[in-house]
Symmetry: C2
Subunit: 191 residues, 2 copies
């Protein structure tokens, strides 16, 4: 029993098998073409505040979240939870929570410089699009997890890891040509 | 002159033109196919510690960094700097800095639980691959910037923003089938 175990924290499993890694590599010309096309597609993404109410197949939402879940994370702890919301009442309740927090941001939390810096983006704390969008993906960072036996598991670099997963999620949405909504998760409490 | 200006911080530019956003949307079947293929490709990525010494065209490196630079950021401040290193001596100096910091991580900074949690990943603080890789991409978060007139500009949510850009960088590298190296930037001092 080590120190950490004595504190009620889970001790890592000991041995895992080594699995050799193999990959294919495109010829240089193809690499160049692919990197160029990916950049051009990603460069068309915008953080818009007007969202279409068109439905998106749930299988697409599942796939983009699965792509996000391939992100690296501190000690491979995968400290994220993605919650998909379609129910209009739940979406509206989320809008109320987000707007309440955002109003505090504008009126006191972030300060006058922030409000001034945002002026040119013409944002406000009212977020109609949280009702309009057919689907919301809520992203929670988990500051710790639990092992199968109920003991706590530390999540290292959890905010960095979750944000990297968000970057991959945005790339997946843009690849799929589903319009990504603003990342509103940062205003929500963590799980 | 507002409060922030009096403190020597840059006041945001006032008016910018509104540019209408348009996008194309694939038929559902195509969206499904694209989201599936993107997930399958991304799911082949691994955080390996053995890196090939094969050269990569600089134009590919430029493109993946440009893709990363399309990431959203707090108040669109783009608080990142990407530095590409090819010179063997500079790469070796970077390896020395990273190993020195990582040794502190293992011996005292992160604690015994972290060392135990990493055991199964068989990592260590020695990072030969920083010499082996033909190119290193160093990623710096900038906690503030400067306006054209020399005044300071606040970078909101800079760590989250840079990490999102890192997620897109990893996706771009995987799309291009260039083997991504471990994100070592977290051990380096910020710009």
């Amino acid at each position: 029993m080590n120190e950490a175990d004595a504190d009620g924290w889970q001790v890592s499993e000991e041995e895992v098998d080594h699995i050799p890694f193999s990959h294919t590599r495109y010829p240089e010309k193809e690499m160049l073409k692919r990197s160029q096309e990916f950049y051009e597609l990603l460069n068309k993404r915008r953080s818009v505040r007007f969202i279409s109410n068109e439905q998106v197949p749930m299988e697409v939402i599942d796939n983009v979240i699965k792509a996000a879940g391939t992100a690296p994370s501190g000690a491979h702890t995968e400290p994220w939870t993605f919650v998909v919301v379609k129910d209009p009442d739940v979406k509206h309740k989320i809008r109320e929570i987000v707007e309440e927090e955002e109003e505090i941001n504008y009126l006191k939390r972030m300060g006058p410089q922030w409000v001034s810096d945002l002026k040119k983006l013409r944002t406000k704390w009212i977020k109609e699009y949280l009702d309009t969008a057919p689907v919301l993906i809520l992203i929670f960072k988990r500051v710790h997890g639990f092992a199968a036996n109920g003991k706590k598991k530390i999540h290292y670099y959890n905010e960095i890891s979750v944000s990297i997963a968000c970057g991959i999620l945005l790339a997946a949405l843009q690849m799929t040509k589903t319009v990504p909504k603003e990342l509103a998760s940062i205003y929500l409490p963590t799980l």
